[in-house]
């Protein structure tokens, strides 16, 4: 038991303090609902966290975790999602589950032990999620997080599964979800490849390869690759893990066993593929899942394994990701249909909850449970609505986007949320070219801002600058961006906008200088895809001898970034 990767790390969550979760647990009052989808603000107290994290390893962690050395190279990004307006919790006092998970990977471990991959039986056992049974489990939290209402078709099958005597339920092929890997080849480190091609083997180094080979071949290793930005290597590792779970290449359209773990692996794979824009294989691999409405996506389908557990095995983020998928390949209208179907289920669940019942309406729940659930699901509802706005923007259907955003704005319960929505509406109208409406929204945002702070902040100055740009007043826009830069001299976005203004004002050399300074002052954030595109556009406008400058950027990328940029060549216009 001790040397198996324990699923309870991700699914059992007794040890995990609730203060700092992304969707579900932010804030303490229902008024924080909308903000609960915000990603919070980085908090910097790394050293304090290192110590807490060390103390936090529970005793039943796998061998690879407890093996010493863990504290040596913890450069984790500790993030405590705080909500503006709500009480901020000091980072040191609350171990964040993200730090907790993100740092357990054995950093420099030159891998003598790869226990999980060694014996298939051990692996299979671990995958069944059996280990969950030995863990203290917060059943309410599980139910809340996994809740989903099956459609009528699936309900029938689930009834059958539940009522059949043990061992006598044999589902039809049609009710099964049968995924399999499509993308076969191992992905190479893209940045590395470009570097080798343009800079030669010596300057490119060989960091990526080493990194990918020296993480443990399990979830911890996967997280390690993600955290250090070796995204293509992470995809390769999901390939290994999913194959081991019996859903590898060639397994598509063949019956298979789903576990929460296998779906978490798919989620990780899909999320990373989406990030680096591997949309074609992603679409194909996501296709067998459909809209996750098959009965085998529900716990009730497996009465023997998940006694009394309800809801879906599918993580909400995976459901959302796959629903949004068509929008990333130029079919936002299809995504809209899927997202509205999701919204419908969520709203049914919310109305059940408001009546004091569980999400699926099958039982009654306590008041605290109800409050928690409503908070979680309203946060998810808002997240879906954001996706709908994003699809509408992608379709340039600004009317629809504005309609949804206005709803969000009206529902906003705090000044901060209202302000954020008004500010977003302002920019939405700018996209459409409706300068008058944008100005009105900016005024509304300013009113809301007065409840938070007396003087304009970066966001407001930037919005003002954007409106100036719409009016073609680049000098005014420049001045506004400059005021924003006074407040946050290291803000990359502000520097970028200053640079764009300078170009429109006929000051190319200065525009280039501003961007270069921004990159040099904060290479990690400054080496952003869009900023690189802007800078290379300016280089190309300036002179026909741009190659050396672009290669310098490539060298910086190699130094400061790992394999996170979807298309390096495109960014650098090489």
């Amino acid at each position: 038991m001790d040397n198996k990767p324990s699923l309870s790390q991700y699914f059992g969550d007794k040890e995990v303090p609730p203060a700092s979760q992304f969707f579900d647990e932010i804030g303490t009052s229902p008024s924080d609902m909308v903000q609960s989808i915000y990603l919070g603000e980085p908090e910097g107290n790394v050293s304090a966290n290192q110590t807490t994290t060390n103390n936090l390893f529970p005793q039943n962690m796998s061998v690879s975790f407890t093996q010493h050395k863990t504290s040596e190279e913890m450069t984790f990004t500790n993030v405590l999602p705080t909500v503006s307006g709500s009480t901020a919790v000091p980072a040191a006092s609350l171990p964040d589950p993200s730090t907790f998970f993100d740092t357990i990977g054995p950093e420099p471990q030159i891998a003598p032990t790869k226990p999980s991959i060694a014996t298939p039986t051990v692996l299979a056992e671990a995958m069944d999620g059996l280990s969950i049974k030995n863990q203290p489990v917060d059943k309410e939290a599980d139910r809340r997080r996994d809740a989903w209402i099956p459609n009528d078709e699936a309900k029938k099958t689930l009834m059958k599964a539940q009522s059949s005597p043990k061992g006598s339920f044999f589902p039809e092929r049609e009710v099964l979800t049968m995924p399999g890997l499509i993308l076969e080849e191992e992905l190479a480190d893209a940045l590395q490849e470009v570097a080798v091609k343009y800079l030669g083997v010596s300057s490119a180094g060989s960091r990526g390869v080493v990194r990918a080979e020296h993480v443990s071949r399990d979830e911890a290793g996967l997280r390690e690759l993600l955290r250090t930005g070796y995204l293509r290597a992470a995809i390769n590792l999901t390939h290994v893990l999913i194959s081991a779970a019996g859903q590898g290449v060639g397994r598509m359209h063949r019956p298979t066993k789903h576990t929460p773990r296998s779906l978490q692996l798919w989620l990780t794979r899909f999320a990373v593929m989406l990030r680096i824009k591997l949309t074609d294989p992603l679409l194909k691999e996501a296709e067998p899942f459909g809209d996750f409405s098959k009965p085998d996506m529900f716990y009730e389908f497996y009465p023997d394994s998940y006694d009394n557990r309800t809801g879906s095995l599918v993580p909400f983020s995976l459901r959302l990701l796959v629903a949004e998928l068509p929008a990333h390949v130029g079919k936002p209208d299809e995504a809209v249909d899927r997202l509205y179907a999701m919204l419908d289920v969520i709203q049914t669940m919310l109305s059940n909850l408001r009546e004091g019942k569980t999400e699926d309406g099958s039982a009654t729940i306590t008041e605290t449970d109800k409050t928690e659930s409503i908070r979680l699901w309203m946060g998810r509802e808002t997240r879906v609505m954001h996706s709908l706005v994003n699809c509408a923007i992608a379709m340039k259907d600004y009317r629809q986007a504005a309609r949804i955003l206005s709803t969000l704005q009206q529902q906003a319960s705090s000044a901060g949320a209202r302000r954020a929505a008004c500010s977003a509406l302002c920019r939405l109208w700018l996209l459409a070219g409706h300068v008058r409406a944008a100005t009105a929204c900016l005024d509304a945002a300013r009113d809301a801002r007065h409840h938070i702070c007396p003087t304009p902040d970066v966001r407001e100055y930037v919005d003002m600058g954007l409106i100036d740009i719409a009016h073609g007043k680049y000098q005014d826009a420049y001045n506004n961006f400059a005021r924003a830069a006074d407040q946050e001299p290291t803000n990359i976005m502000v520097a970028n906008n200053l640079s764009v203004c300078l170009l429109y004002m006929g000051r190319l050399k200065e525009a280039i200088a501003v961007l270069q300074k921004a990159i040099n002052s904060d290479p990690e954030r400054g080496l952003n895809e869009s900023l690189l595109i802007n800078l290379c556009t300016l280089y190309e406008l300036e002179s026909s001898k741009t190659n050396e400058k672009k290669l310098n950027l490539l060298r910086m990328l190699c130094k400061y970034k790992s394999d996170t940029i979807p298309n390096v060549l495109e960014c650098l216009k090489l």
Binding site: Q21, F22, F23, D24, E25, Q35, Y38, L39, G40, V79, S84, P97, S98, D102, R145, E219, R223, L226, Q264, L267, V272, R275, P315, F316, S317, R383, H386, S387, N390, K396, A420, A424, R427, L431, A432, G433, H434, V435, R459, L466, I467, I469, A470, G472, M493, V500, L503, Y504, G506, L508, S530, N534, T537, L538, E540, L541, E542, S543, S544, T564
Partner: protein
């Protein structure tokens, strides 16, 4: 451009069209903190310079991205571009100057640069640059011609040109319809259709009337709110219909000749905006209506009630205008048609006396409705004694009987 060409010259010329920049957002991929990737992907999103703090999951960013393609350009928009000359050598280059022309199908326009008209010296790695603006007033092919002149190494003036071709397209389709009302008012219906490839906002649509008319826009409700609501956003191919009422100015409405000649209605002035406020403005040519043919005599009813009671006589006035060139001698006849719901009260075959050209005459008439419903007023005839010709006026107006 042939690369050899570039090598031959000491300076290089680059041109970039400055359409409005775009607002960009990151790829939004998030997870629950309890999912396998934990907050790692969320943190990527949050740390992305293009995401908006606390609104990371919404793709309405604040990060400006420079235009990455030439894009479309439409009549009425402003063509802006950045022209840049760069010293590509390791020595200063003397007497560098840029000249830009825009050639259309019909004309050649010298684009005025803000500065840099006089030749300058370009030091090593220095640039000479300028932003050019030009409001596009022609359709079809345009060619931007940029000419760079500089002092070559042999102390002679060298120059080269670059050509940039683009098509100017029509952004809007405007269809108009006119209705000439009895009251001499003219109603104009203008349908403005977006024929660009993206959505546009109609920021202003107004009718500048000609000297002969006063205009009243019928597109707002009492408090100045547009009937189209907040937004006049037109998706590609969508159109919006505007309605205007034009009343002839007093000096014109009095004179039937002038009224008949008042063809010019006015011009529609349209201002629209698209992506990030890119602005365009068009004015139509003078809109012309078909004037009604009044013939020799124009007969209209005035002070006619819209609603009358059955079997109660009602009064109204009949206006007769001599639109001919001669004096008219007329007889008014009132005929009772067979299935008419109205009976005339008063004298038929009444002589109206001589009517000078351009003059008008009012007669009071009384009628008795005998059936309910909407009744046409029919049966008025005028007999021209000189030509022995009868003019019948049927169905000129209606009245509701209840």
């Amino acid at each position: 451009m042939d690369p050899k060409d570039v090598v031959e010259h000491l300076v290089a010329l680059k041109v970039m069209r400055l359409t409005k920049p775009a607002l960009i957002s990151p790829k939004i991929v998030t997870c629950d903190s309890k999912d396998l990737p934990g907050n790692i992907l969320n943190n990527y999103l949050k740390d992305d310079a293009t995401s908006v703090t606390q609104m990371e999951t919404l793709a309405a960013g604040q990060f400006l991205l420079l235009p990455q393609s030439f894009g479309n350009i439409y009549l009425g928009e402003t063509f802006s571009c950045y022209v840049c000359v760069h010293n590509e050598t390791n020595n200063p280059v003397q007497s560098v100057s840029i000249k830009a022309d825009l050639q259309t199908n019909s004309q050649r326009i010298l684009l005025t640069t803000q500065q840099n008209l006089s030749p300058t010296m370009l030091d090593v790695d220095e640039t000479l640059s300028d932003v050019i603006h030009h409001e596009v007033k022609d359709l079809g092919t345009h060619i931007l011609v940029c000419e760079v002149t500089y002092m070559s190494n042999y102390n002679t003036l060298a120059s080269f040109r670059k050509f940039f071709k683009f098509e100017v397209m029509k952004p809007l389709d405007v269809k108009t319809k006119f209705y000439n009302a009895e009251s001499d008012d003219v109603y104009l219906e203008a349908q403005v259709q977006n024929i660009t490839s993206g959505p546009i906002i109609l920021e202003q649509v107004s009718l500048e009337s000609s000297q002969q008319f006063n205009v009243k826009s019928l597109n707002e409700i009492n408090d100045g709110m547009s009937v189209f609501g907040d937004v006049t956003l037109l998706q590609p191919q969508e159109s919006c219909q505007y309605l205007y009422c034009l009343t002839p100015r007093e000096n014109i409405s009095k004179e039937i000749k002038l009224l008949a000649a008042a063809k010019n209605i006015g011009k529609l002035d349209i201002v629209w905006r698209s992506n990030l406020g890119e602005k365009g403005r068009l004015q139509t040519s003078q809109l012309q209506r078909m004037t009604p043919d009044y013939g020799d005599i124009r007969l209209t009813f005035e002070k006619l009630p819209s609603k009358v009671s059955v079997e109660e006589p009602f009064d109204f006035q009949c206006k007769i205008v001599n639109a001919s060139e001669r004096t008219l001698d007329l007889i008014l006849k009132l005929r009772s048609l067979q299935d008419s719901s109205l009976l005339w009260c008063g004298i038929s075959n009444k002589k109206l006396g001589p009517l000078e050209p351009g003059q008008s005459l009012y007669i009071s008439l009384t009628a008795l409705p005998i059936n309910t419903g909407l009744c046409n007023i029919s049966g008025v005839s005028l007999l021209d004694l000189f030509l022995k010709r009868t003019y019948d006026y049927d169905d000129i107006a209606s009245v509701f009987v209840c």
